[in-house]
Symmetry: C2
Subunit: 466 residues, 2 copies
């Protein structure tokens, strides 16, 4: 097989894949998959024919994240424009550190950051594309620490007394950030939530006062706009007032919920966001851009260049003449992919109006799913719904519901028509389908509800499952 | 234009691009590019026809990193297999956090990490693909800090007294790492290099003793295998002995030089690497894999899971049953792209022997370039050559050589046939072509040498340039 044949065969494999598939996943055990996958990295090359079989095998046993039944994580679906944008970015293989090496891509990323800042209400804000929401939360914490002590950049920080506040339902990446920055997990204070999973402002005030009495130094609050399990939005306005009163940096983890800002109908969920100091917002979640496409935005345009002054030493990369346009000065990465193009192209195709429509259609579908659950005899809604996360379990008397729901979830996955997440809420195991995939329709939702009920009924009736 | 036409047109654009181009870059000023680039993110969608023009414009004004004249950064060239691997990974759009969502990709990444550990000499080692060498250096520093005080993860670190040692020619990302971890830039001790740019072990010993006398706590040494400007390799064996004597973690930044390990002829450059505690190694540099593809490897297989215990709180993502195979437990990212497939496929195609051949052919070409420079009347080799970096300047009496070489470099870029980096060595501005692009041949090198000399001659003769 020569290279032209190889390229042609791969393109035809891609075309076949884009035609879709009946199942989300061809279920196979870890052991079996290991047995049938040739993982050897050989001494001598095996050529294009082998690579083609590898690709075929990879696609066959991968989860079909473009399938309508894929309602598991906070992302999914196949946006063809964004996918092709990703392909073009790989083809050009630019690195985003200098304008010189990425002229068009730099202009595009700047345009995206500017527009996202406008939407947030950070008039003169600045920002950067990052490696994901986790990274964005870390950068927020980094800016917050710099603010209370800029000199620490040179002298080092004593982080035994710095405390940061997050809701008890925040994403685990805030724990990652505290670990990396050396803040210490004990200095990450969990603020209790109300019954809907939202941070309680009065509890935040209490915790801040308690920390101060303890001789600790509060420096940051991280609020969440769209929690992972319930999709709850912390009350940003009230939290921001507390931050102002206590001179604290407010970072908002809007990785999941940020896209509500496109919709006039739903942007109230993030009321007060313009009062925050920074946020992260993942375009690879609700906006359906291929992984990874995530923005960190700061209200003070100089936040990043102040903290990131380490780039000044890199005379082999950054030159004085282009200091205004070299995005590497605003990034924790040196070599960095062009994640901007795919989002830019999708935005050009859809416009703000297209994003708004997408968000609203997802909310409608989530409401529809909620209704279906409420109407279903054996299904129980496990949390109020604010965003497109739907927390549900199968409920019937006389059963260990945690065991039963774990079994139901696993069986649904094995059946292969749907895939939903398993989570824990107040020690109850729940299923959490989420709407973040543009191929989902009402029919998909009818099918999912039917699948959960049928599998549940069959398990409790002792009908053998495959 | 409907979606099928759109897809077809983009694929045909890709095919055209793959046919190559005469120039590395169609030179255009920042202002002009801004004027002719439509950067608007519109209210209403503009459809596929606009996106197609955007793609065309993007490719036209992007730097051709696959062009043989592209000898600027430590990466380049177009490995078709790896590029198609990237396309397939985007198509499947998996996230690497759980085995369940990325079954084949998980097995593939594990296989790569295992093989890279074997090559390094970390028999039972473990690791993860990261977002780049900068990130890998930070993770190394993180593991080092954990080792001197595991309890700090809970209580926070007092980083005012922690000191880390690097050579004065290390990459700026070690400064980034110190900033993020809160170590403080003053606590990053620069160890002097010898005339070839290699860290001097006796100076390292002195600095460690001095720090201890000062009441500081040394915790980490970061050696470099392949520095950015000269391609120098720090003497790992001698440094590792000093680390052992002083109970210090040794991390090696082998982002650029790691690939020498494939070649029996050149792997001596990293003699003693098996004595290090961790390293990073970029497959997107010399191995020509599209950006980003970078590994962090640690000798102690538990290094990462110990430092990363923050994942334990994420019951919505990680379940007990699959704790052994969920790669998210070893990563600072939550959502993470599949960067493994492209490297795996290229490795399957080429084999270890193919990588060795690549490394050796690059070294031969670098030697050829060095010879050409030595033989050329007006060119001066500015550093001894150990790897494929070649440091050169145009030298003639009675000229401001810094100004002249800056001009030469800029003029070469404008001419568009070659692109080389501009760096500073001992206050001298130099040109630094590097061999890291498989389309470079001896002809390319002849052409480059001729271009530097011609442009230099023309500038000093006052011949107007375009």
């Amino acid at each position: 097989m020569d290279i032209d044949e190889f390229v042609e065969s791969v393109l035809s494999e891609i075309n076949d894949y884009l035609k879709g598939s009946e199942l989300v996943i061809e279920s196979i055990s870890h052991n079996s998959l290991k047995k049938i996958t040739d993982l050897a990295l050989p001494l001598e090359g095996m050529g294009y024919q082998t690579v083609l079989s590898d690709i075929n095998h990879f696609l066959r046993y991968s989860v079909r994240t473009d399938h309508p039944g894929f309602m598991n994580p906070l992302w999914g679906g196949m946006n063809i424009t964004a996918f092709l944008g990703e392909v073009i970015a790989s083809l050009a293989n630019n690195s985003m550190y200098t304008y010189e090496l990425s002229p068009v891509a730099t202009l595009i990323e700047q345009s995206l950051i500017r527009r996202m800042c406008e939407i947030v209400g950070f008039g003169d804000g600045n920002g950067t594309l990052t490696t994901g929401g986790s990274n964005g939360n870390m950068i927020g914490m980094l800016c917050a620490r710099y603010r209370i002590n800029p000199l620490g950049l040179r002298t080092g920080y004593d982080s035994k007394n710095l405390v940061c506040f997050v809701s008890e339902e925040s994403h685990y990446s805030v724990r990652m950030s505290a670990t990396v920055l050396g803040i210490g997990l004990d200095n990450l204070i969990s603020v209790p939530c109300d019954v809907n999973g939202k941070m309680r402002p009065e509890k935040l005030t209490e915790e801040i006062e308690f920390a101060k009495l303890n001789g600790q130094i509060p420096f940051c609050v991280i609020a969440t706009a769209g929690t992972t399990v319930r999709g709850a939005f912390d009350p940003i306005k009230e939290i921001s007032e507390i931050c102002t009163d206590n001179n604290l940096w407010l970072h908002v983890d809007a990785a999941w919920g940020g896209s509500c800002l496109f919709s006039a109908k739903h942007r109230h969920l993030m009321d007060g966001i313009e009062l925050a100091d920074s946020l992260c917002w993942d375009a690879h979640k609700m906006m359906g851009i291929p992984l990874v496409c995530s923005a960190f935005l700061a209200k003070d345009p100089d936040s990043l260049s102040k903290v990131y002054n380490f780039t000044d030493s890199a005379n082999y990369l950054f030159h004085e003449e282009t200091s205004e346009v070299d995005l590497g000065r605003f990034s924790l990465q040196c070599g960095r992919r062009n994640d901007a193009l795919k989002l830019f192209l999708a935005w050009r195709e859809k416009g703000d109006a297209g994003w708004a429509k997408l968000v609203e259609s997802y909310m409608d579908l989530a409401e529809y799913l909620e209704q279906k659950i409420v109407e279903s005899e054996n299904l129980e809604l496990m949390s109020s719904r604010e965003w497109t996360n739907v927390c549900v379990r199968y409920n019937i008397e006389g059963q260990d519901l945690n065991e039963l729901n774990s079994k139901i979830r696993e069986q649904i996955r094995i059946n292969g028509k749907y895939m939903v997440s398993r989570s824990t809420l107040n020690n109850a195991i729940i299923l959490r389908p989420v709407i973040a995939n543009h191929s989902i329709s009402k029919d998909t939702i009818d099918g999912l509800v039917n699948e959960i009920v049928t599998v549940g009924n069959e398990i409790i009736s002792g009908i053998p499952q495959k």
